[in-house]
Symmetry: C2
Subunit: 190 residues, 2 copies
């Protein structure tokens, strides 16, 4: 990866995440990345490719965090707590602006769009990962529990950048704790 390319990708990541994807034009990325338009288009054939690369970068960062949570904690329960913890930390981080993937999906709702598909791929991986963790924990209903976890995460990430993140963070961690402590006892009638 050339230096200009990584600088470009970092600039795009910062701008797309903090201001929104459609709101940021190629010119902005080029200018703030100290790069020529020609250089950008050498590395990324179109803006869509740049967006997908941006999401890929965020995806990689999250996988690193999950791996770290796995490495640091011994019991499955603590691994889940570790994952919850870095989500909670993320929310109260300066410059937090919600989930990059949910935000991207809001701007690119078309399921055929490459950007949208990148969002779905990341989310599928994350759900599968959580199912795995809850399975390790010995839960018979690992999938519902994982879905519950993801739902809390999505809600927390969505709300955390709209108001004071502190109560959001607390509500999230408390919800996860409840999920680890009690099991679902009854099914709902649809």
């Amino acid at each position: 990866m050339s230096e200009a390319r990584s600088r470009l990708l970092d600039t795009a990541t910062g701008l797309f995440y903090s201001e929104g994807i459609r709101a940021v034009g190629i010119d902005r990325v080029v200018a703030e990345g100290k790069v020529t338009r020609a250089t950008l288009y050498r590395h990324f054939p179109s803006k869509d490719d740049l967006i997908v690369a941006y999401l890929g970068q965020v995806d990689a960062a999250i996988r690193v965090q999950v791996d770290a949570a796995r490495a640091k904690n011994s019991t499955p329960e603590d691994v889940i707590r570790g994952v919850a913890q870095f989500i909670a930390d993320d929310i109260q981080r300066a410059g937090f602006r919600g989930c990059a993937f949910l935000n991207a999906a809001a701007e690119y709702p078309d399921p055929d769009d490459a950007v949208h598909r990148a969002v779905l791929a990341h989310r599928q991986w994350f759900l599968d990962t959580m199912i795995e963790l809850f399975t390790d924990l010995g839960k018979i209903d690992a999938e519902p529990a994982a879905r519950h976890f993801v739902m809390l995460r999505d809600g927390a990430m969505a709300a955390g950048c709209l108001t004071d993140p502190e109560p959001v963070r607390e509500t999230f961690l408390r919800g996860v704790e409840g999920l680890l402590t009690y099991r679902s006892r009854e099914s709902v009638t649809t």
Copy 2:
């Protein structure tokens, strides 16, 4: 409200919600609303005003649904179930594309922006409403419970348009049921 204006607003609502706000230009709204550009700008001084009006329309529709849930159910618990039910119904509706407000916030992250402020106002009202309902229920910790409810709702609305809505719906309703059945027993250490 003139006929052209309401037609304009309905068209904008449909387009903005299903395709995203920035993705839809004034021309599209004008064309599909069978209206002239001049007419649009007579009723809405700028696109931002049209967006705010769009969110206002969605906000009004949700308030109607909450009022209906209040009118139909007698016990506070059932009112909350009613609110959860219309959210669950919304998710599995054809053309469901997530929460109009969360989507708008993703596109307009600037807190000073009129669009962003409209999102915050709606969310504040909804949280206050849920706190009220949980207070009616007699919960001592009404606010945490309401925050928990809103977090589940946000997560469900965000995820419901990205994959099969059925498991999302079920996870959401189950989470709400759990919230109504058990109370939070311990606080989390931050």
